[in-house]
């Protein structure tokens, strides 16, 4: 399982880091995870803030004894599952192939 880095590791790592493929991979990763992190954090913060400061709104009944607070809470579950699923799909399509290619390149010791 353990794969030792090639002898010229640092050199080729720095080269790989500068390569357009790697720059693209980093951009694809950060372009997804950073905005998504901001999105779910704001969405979660909104929920916590409403729970603290908008009690009347959260207590509004929708159907029977089911109120906004409960639905909002359940939507946090839905959004979590949804983001997890979207990330899985995105990484399989956009990240894994490039990552595998670059890994191959580094481990065979070659630079461009």
């Amino acid at each position: 399982m353990t794969t030792e880095a090639p002898p010229t590791a640092s050199e080729s790592y720095a080269d790989v880091q500068r390569s357009p493929e790697f720059v693209g991979l980093r951009k694809a990763l950060r372009g997804f995870v950073f905005p998504m992190t901001v999105a779910f954090f704001v969405w979660y913060a909104l929920y916590v803030i409403l729970s603290a400061y908008a009690r009347d709104f959260m207590s509004t009944k929708i159907v029977g004894h089911i109120n906004v607070a409960l639905v909002f809470g359940l939507l946090q579950f839905v959004s979590t599952f949804l983001i997890a699923w979207l990330y899985e799909r995105y990484s399989a399509r956009r990240l894994d192939p490039t990552a595998a290619e670059l890994r191959e390149r580094v481990e065979s010791g070659g630079t461009r």
Binding site: V16, H65, N67, Q76, L102
Partner: protein, 554 residues
């Protein structure tokens, strides 16, 4: 009182039988695992041989502590909606782990959190800080679990004040439980290493999910699967009326004093932040990502964990509201003012209703009590493993011996550390057995979010981050969280404090996160820009390429 005397002894016998079976099975697995444990990778990382699903289950077993199972069900049973806030924070937190940490850590680290933190830094200061933080977080968490187990045993085994069981009164039973739990966790870790611990966690997660699922279905069946009528009945029987279904009974309470109301609400925000940012900084969770062969498997394990943990927290809604509706607020509060026995009491009520009278009730109560003990055991084993790995791999091998040691020697030290940390925890647990230490779980999350998470994120994403930054972030977050809690109302100056008769409190919040988390990030940034040390660009290139591609991964 949970039980009348006659069924109390039935339950006890069932509980003890089931628990003995669980212990026998897990010890069998542990011995088997010890034969499979030949090198350091086996001991620390279970040979990196687990599948995404197995690790997802183990993460669930590692994460869903007694605080989740008994605590959240109890908060919901007594305070209604507010318990749900906890569940949501504990779940959403996994997105931080999934998107920002799990795969990159798996690719670039080897055995511990510090492998990533120290990757491009000077080893000794960063690894020392990481070991201090790891042991502090883990021991806080561990103590809360052990003391909780001690408090539960008298209740779950039905030992009432003035009565004895096997010649033990409630106090002796408490001590005996803490010693037993401690001894078992030491055995799991020293003998079975990561492999043994992982299987214990998988078995526990399986039991917990089945137990919770059966209870949930039975609760919902009692209300013909109509959630609204369950909620209505819960509110009616809780003694709190409609307010029971709204936020505000437990957290962010509105009181007569406007200043106190303000602090209560800020405290709720503070708790919310610590819950969501703490998980991805908990060392016992992070080391689980090393037990799978690839980053892709690490991703899969977090996806499974999100599914398992999310389903579980949805079920805690049914358990908590079900307990309020079918047991009632009064009887739960009489048994345990904190509500920790709500889930077992619900099990008893469901057993009586569906499985034939007293015996059915006694049996189902016993099943859930045994699940609760299994839950505690699996979590404390994970915590002991995380702290002993860090002591051996970070502190002993890379600081004391400066990397000049064999892996064989490291594992010996890890086993000794597990023994020492376990023994110290047993002693501290016994000393603290009558003290309210439930706040230690929230404190562990706050320290993880304030110290560990900033250091991890900066290490992975900020090129300029350096040794001073890492050290400042960890100590800054750790010290500010601990100091603020020390001067908070959970330690002194209130009736429910750890020391209710003393008062040195000046910090108004119970949860330090809202101050200490930004402070941790600020310290990491300041430490970096104020230090003259230049970031090692070649090492950063190596870290980044390895983290993103998996090249050269262990």
């Amino acid at each position: 009182m949970i039980l009348a005397a006659a069924s109390a002894s039935t339950t006890r016998n069932f509980t003890i039988t089931l628990f003995v079976i669980f212990v026998a099975i897990t010890l069998g697995i542990t011995v088997w695992a010890s034969r499979q444990t030949r090198n350091a990778t086996d001991f620390y990382a279970g040979g990196r041989s687990f599948s995404g699903f197995q690790n997802g289950m183990a993460i669930g077993g590692d994460y869903m502590s007694a605080a989740s199972f008994l605590g959240i069900a109890g908060i919901i049973a007594l305070n209604g909606y507010d318990g749900f806030l906890y569940s949501i924070g504990f779940l959403v937190a996994w997105l931080v782990a999934l998107l920002l940490v799990a795969e990159l850590l798996r690719n670039s680290g080897k055995y511990t959190m510090a492998d990533v933190l120290a990757f491009r830094m000077r080893q000794a200061p960063v690894r020392t800080a990481a070991a201090v933080s790891t042991v502090t977080v883990s021991v806080f968490y561990l103590l809360a679990q052990m003391v909780g187990a001690g408090a539960l045993v008298a209740l779950l085994l039905g030992i009432q004040p003035g009565t004895t069981f096997l010649g033990m009164d409630a106090n002796t039973a408490r001590i005996a439980t803490i010693v037993m739990i401690g001894a078992l966790m030491i055995i799991y870790v020293t003998v079975g290493g990561m492999k043994g611990t992982t299987y214990v966690q998988i078995v526990k997660a399986f039991m917990l999910m089945i137990g919770a699922l059966v209870m949930t279905v039975l609760v919902l069946a009692a209300y013909k699967f109509n959630l609204s009528s369950l909620l209505g009945d819960a509110a009616a029987k809780s003694g709190r009326g409609d307010a029971f279904l709204n936020p505000g009974l437990a957290y962010g309470r509105e009181v007569a004093d406007a200043t106190q109301t303000f602090y209560n609400k800020v405290d709720l925000l503070s708790l919310g932040i610590a819950l969501v940012l703490g998980t991805a900084g908990l060392p016992h969770i992070l080391i689980r990502f090393y037990t799978v062969p690839t980053a892709k498997a690490a991703r899969r394990s977090v996806l499974w964990a999100i599914g398992i943990i999310g389903s579980f927290y949805l079920m805690t809604l049914a358990l908590g509201f079900g307990a309020a509706a079918l047991v009632g607020g009064g009887p739960i509060r009489t048994q345990n003012p904190g509500g920790n026995t709500a889930a077992p009491q619900l099990a008893q009520a469901l057993g009586e209703r569906y499985f034939g009278g007293d015996i059915g009730g006694a049996f189902f109560l016993a099943v859930i009590a045994a699940v609760a003990f299994a839950t505690i055991l699996a979590v404390v084993a994970g915590l002991t493993l995380a702290s002993s790995s860090s002591m051996a791999h970070d502190f002993y091998a890379n600081v004391v011996k400066k990397g000049e040691t064999s892996e064989r020697q490291e594992v010996v030290v890890a086993r000794i550390s597990a023994l020492v940390i376990g023994a110290v925890s047993i002693v501290l647990g016994i000393v603290a057995r009558n003290i309210n230490v439930a706040f230690l779980v929230a404190l562990a999350f706050a320290v993880a979010a304030s110290g560990n998470l900033p250091a991890i994120l900066y290490s992975l994403f900020w090129k300029r981050f350096n040794t001073a930054g890492a050290v400042w972030a960890i100590y800054g977050g750790l010290i500010s969280a601990v100091v603020l809690v020390f001067f908070s109302p959970v330690v002194s100056g209130s009736a429910t404090a750890m020391f209710p008769n003393s008062d040195w409190q000046w910090f108004p919040l119970s949860n330090p996160g809202i101050i200490s988390i930004p402070l941790g990030f600020l310290c990491g940034w300041l430490g970096t820009i104020l230090s003259r040390e230049r970031a090692n660009e070649e090492k950063y290139a190596e870290l980044e390429v390895r983290a993103l591609t998996g090249a050269g991964a262990h």
